[in-house]
C-alpha cells in the first residue's frame, strides 16, 4: 500500500475545480484520518461529486492539491488506484455485459485478486442467476449492488462512495451499513457523499458540509447534533387548540391541533420545560435530540440566511423548481437533503 502510514489518508488543500467560468469546488480543505468514515454533505450541485472525482484522479484540480495515501491521484494514478475502491454516483455499466462479465472485467483491470467477490455477492443478494443476466436488465437497486461489490471486492485501503445507498432496499441498506462498519473495523478509510442525512448520521464520524462549491464546516456528527436545538413536543388535553405560549413563543411553535412542537436551544431545555409545565395544562411532553438533518439545515440557513437551497451556475433542476422549501418550510422530508440541482 502506498503512503507512509503516518499522515492523513486523504488530504485536500485549497482544492479548486472550475469548468470554464463555472465553479465546481473552491478552496476546499479537508483531512481524513485512517480508519475514519467521513461524510461529504450537501445538496446536489454543491460540489461533492466533483470533489470525489478529483480524489480518484478522473479530474485534475484547477488549483490546490489532492493527496490520497500521500500520492497525487492523477500523477501517481497507477500506484494509487490499487488501493482505492470507488462507487460513482451515477453508476453506468455496459448493458450487454452480464453481471459476472462486468465484475470479471473490472477485476481484470484491477490486476489483483478479488478475495471478497463471492462473499459480497452473497451478502448483497446477487445470485448466480442474477449475475448471468445482462446488466441492461437490472433494476436500479441491482446495479447499485453490483457497484458496491466492484468497489469493495479487492479490499481497498480507501473506499470512496458517491451516494452509495441510492436505490437499495432497506434490507440491503442494513447489509451495506454492516459492510461499512467492517471496513472501518479493519482500519480502512471510507469517504462517502450523500444527501440522505440519517445514513450519514448513522455511518459517519465526521462530516464536511459543502454548499455552492465551498466548505461550510467540518465537524463531528455528535458535535453538530449537540449544538442543535432540541425538539420539545407538548400535548394539551383541554381542547382549546393553539394558544399564546408567552415566553415560549420565541422557540418557533408549530401547532398541529392540540400538539405543539418547539425548537429549544440545548442549554435552555430544562428551564423551558419547567416553565411550560408550571404555566400550561400539559398532558404529555417529549424532548427529542435534533437529527443531523435539522442541524444541517440550521447551518445552511445561518450561512447566508437562505432556506437551504443551493443554486450553483447552470445546474438547477430541469423543472426549474426549488426543492428545498416547499410545504415543510425548509424542513427536510424523509431525511433527504433538498435536490436543488444536478450534480456538478
Amino acid at each position: 500500500m502506498p503512503g507512509n502510514g503516518t499522515g492523513p489518508v486523504i488530504e485536500l488543500t485549497s482544492l479548486t475545480k472550475r469548468y470554464g467560468s463555472t465553479v465546481g469546488i473552491e478552496g476546499l480543505d479537508v483531512s481524513v484520518a485512517a480508519g475514519e468514515v467521513f461524510g461529504l454533505l450537501g445538496p446536489n450541485g454543491a460540489g461533492k461529486t466533483t470533489t470525489l472525482r478529483c480524489l480518484v484522479g478522473l479530474l485534475s484540480p484547477s488549483d490546490g492539491q489532492v493527496r490520497v495515501l500521500g500520492l497525487d491521484p492523477v500523477a501517481d494514478h497507477r500506484r494509487l488506484a490499487p488501493s482505492i475502491g470507488y462507487l460513482p454516483g451515477e453508476l453506468r455499466l455496459y448493458p450487454e455485459l452480464t453481471g459476472r462479465q462486468t465484475l470479471d472485467l473490472l477485476a481484470a483491470l484491477q490486476g489483483a485478486p478479488v478475495p471478497r467477490q463471492t462473499e459480497l455477492c452473497e451478502r448483497l443478494k446477487l445470485s448466480r442467476t442474477d449475475l448471468a443476466r445482462p446488466v441492461g436488465e437490472y433494476s436500479r437497486g441491482m446495479k447499485q449492488k453490483l457497484g458496491l461489490v466492484q468497489s469493495l471486492q479487492h479490499r481497498p485501503a480507501v473506499v470512496v462512495l458517491d451516494e452509495p445507498s441510492e436505490g437499495l432496499d432497506p434490507l440491503i441498506q442494513e447489509t451495506f451499513y454492516e459492510l461499512l462498519a467492517e471496513e472501518t473495523a479493519a482500519g480502512r478509510t471510507v469517504l462517502l457523499s450523500s444527501h440522505v442525512l440519517p445514513e450519514v448520521q448513522r455511518t459517519c464520524g465526521r462530516v464536511a458540509i459543502v454548499r455552492r462549491g465551498r466548505l461550510v464546516t467540518v465537524r463531528s456528527v455528535a458535535e453538530l447534533r449537540e449544538a442543535r436545538a432540541r425538539k420539545v413536543r407538548l400535548l394539551f388535553a383541554d381542547g382549546l387548540g393553539a394558544r399564546p405560549l408567552g415566553a415560549a413563543e420565541r422557540w418557533s411553535p408549530r401547532w398541529a391541533g392540540e400538539r405543539v412542537e418547539l425548537l429549544v436551544p440545548p442549554d435552555q431545555v430544562v428551564p423551558a420545560v419547567r416553565g411550560l409545565l408550571a404555566e400550561l395544562p400539559v398532558a404529555d411532553l417529549t424532548v427529542e435530540e435534533a437529527g443531523l438533518d435539522e442541524a444541517f439545515l440550521d447551518l445552511y440557513r445561518s450561512e447566508d440566511g437562505s432556506d437551504g437551497s443551493d443554486h450553483t451556475d447552470g445546474s438547477e433542476h430541469s423543472d426549474g423548481s426549488d426543492h428545498t422549501g416547499g410545504p415543510t418550510g425548509g424542513r427536510p422530508t424523509d431525511g433527504q437533503l433538498p435536490k436543488a440541482e444536478e450534480k456538478s
Binding site: 480518484v56 479530474l59 453506468r92 483491470l109
Partner: protein, 278 residues
C-alpha cells in the same frame, strides 16, 4: 477461450471487440459478399466486352473509382478489381469500423459515464488508448483481410483475371487498404481522445473518409484542383495501380502509415491532459 470470457491480459481490447462482435461479423460478411460480386462480375466479362475496349477510355476522374493515379482504367480487369477496393460501399464498411470503434475508444465511455469505472483502476491512459487502438487495428485488418482473400480466391480461379493481375499484387493492395484504414484510425482516435460525444467521432470519421474521397475525385476531374490531391489519403491509396502493375508502393505506404502515427501520437498527447468525467 470462450468468447464470453473476459480476457485477463487485454480486457479493454476484449471489451471493444466483444461489444461490437455482431456488427463486425455483419461487416465481414458484407465485405465478402461484395468482393465476391466484384470478382464474379469481372471474371464473366470477356476481354472484347470491356467497355473501354471498343470506345475511348472513360474520363480520368473515373480513376478515382478504380483506385488509380496512373494509367489503370476502370475499363480493365485490374481497374474493375480496384473498383471493388475503392467503391463507396467498401469505404462505408471501413468507415463504419473506424467510426464505431474510434468513438468507443474514449468519447463513448466519457459520454456514457462508464469511463468512471474503467479509469479508477490501475489502468494508465496510455494503456486505455493503446488497447483501444489495438482493437481498431485488429478489426480493420480483419475487414481488409476478408476483402483481400475473397479477391485472391477469385483471381486464382479465373484465368483471365490471373493473367491480368501480377502475382502477389492482391495482397499488396490489401496491405495498402490496411494502411489507408490506419491513416484514418489515427486522426479519428485523436478526436475521440479530445471529445466527450461519440457523435463527434463518428462525424469526424465520415468527414475524413467522404471529404478525402471527394477531394481526390475533384482533383482528378478538374485540372486546376490537381495539387489538392496530395491532401487526400485516397491519393496515396491506389489499389488499381498495384493490381495492374504489381510492386509495392513504399512511398504511399509510408505516407498513409505516417498520417496514422501522427494522429495516434496526437491522441496520446490529448488524452494525457484531459479530464475524464463531464
Amino acid at each position: 477461450m470462450n468468447p464470453g470470457t473476459v480476457s485477463r491480459r487485454l480486457p479493454l481490447v476484449w471489451l471493444a471487440l466483444h461489444r461490437r462482435r455482431r456488427m463486425l461479423l455483419s461487416l465481414l460478411l458484407g465485405m465478402v459478399v461484395f468482393e465476391t460480386l466484384i470478382v464474379v462480375i469481372a471474371g464473366t466479362i470477356q476481354p472484347g466486352d470491356l467497355f473501354g475496349a471498343a470506345r475511348g477510355n472513360p474520363p480520368s476522374a473515373f480513376k478515382a473509382f478504380s483506385g488509380s493515379n496512373g494509367d489503370i482504367s476502370i475499363a480493365s480487369y485490374p481497374g474493375l478489381l480496384g473498383a471493388g477496393l475503392t467503391h463507396p460501399f467498401w469505404i462505408a464498411l471501413q468507415l463504419t469500423v473506424i467510426g464505431s470503434l474510434g468513438a468507443a475508444a474514449v468519447a463513448a465511455d466519457v459520454e456514457s459515464g462508464t469511463i468512471e469505472l474503467l479509469m479508477t483502476r490501475p489502468v494508465s491512459r496510455r494503456r486505455l488508448l493503446a488497447e483501444r487502438a489495438g482493437a481498431m487495428v485488429a478489426a480493420s485488418v480483419l475487414l481488409n483481410a476478408a476483402a483481400t482473400l475473397t479477391i485472391a480466391l477469385g483471381v486464382a480461379f479465373s484465368p483471365k483475371l490471373r493473367a491480368a493481375v501480377p502475382e502477389g499484387a492482391v495482397f499488396t493492395a490489401g496491405l495498402l487498404g490496411c494502411a489507408l484504414a490506419f491513416s484514418l484510425t489515427g486522426p479519428v482516435l485523436a478526436v475521440s481522445a479530445l471529445s466527450r460525444r461519440r457523435a463527434y467521432v463518428v462525424g469526424a470519421a465520415v468527414v475524413l473518409g467522404a471529404v478525402g474521397f471527394a477531394l481526390n475525385f475533384v482533383a482528378l476531374a478538374w485540372s486546376p484542383a490537381r495539387p489538392l490531391r496530395y491532401l487526400s489519403p485516397f491519393h496515396y491509396y491506389a489499389p488499381g495501380d498495384v493490381l495492374g502493375h504489381g510492386g509495392v508502393p513504399w512511398a504511399a505506404l509510408g505516407v498513409l502509415t505516417g498520417i496514422g502515427l501522427l494522429g495516434l501520437l496526437a491522441a496520446f498527447r490529448l488524452l494525457e491532459r484531459r479530464d475524464l468525467a463531464i
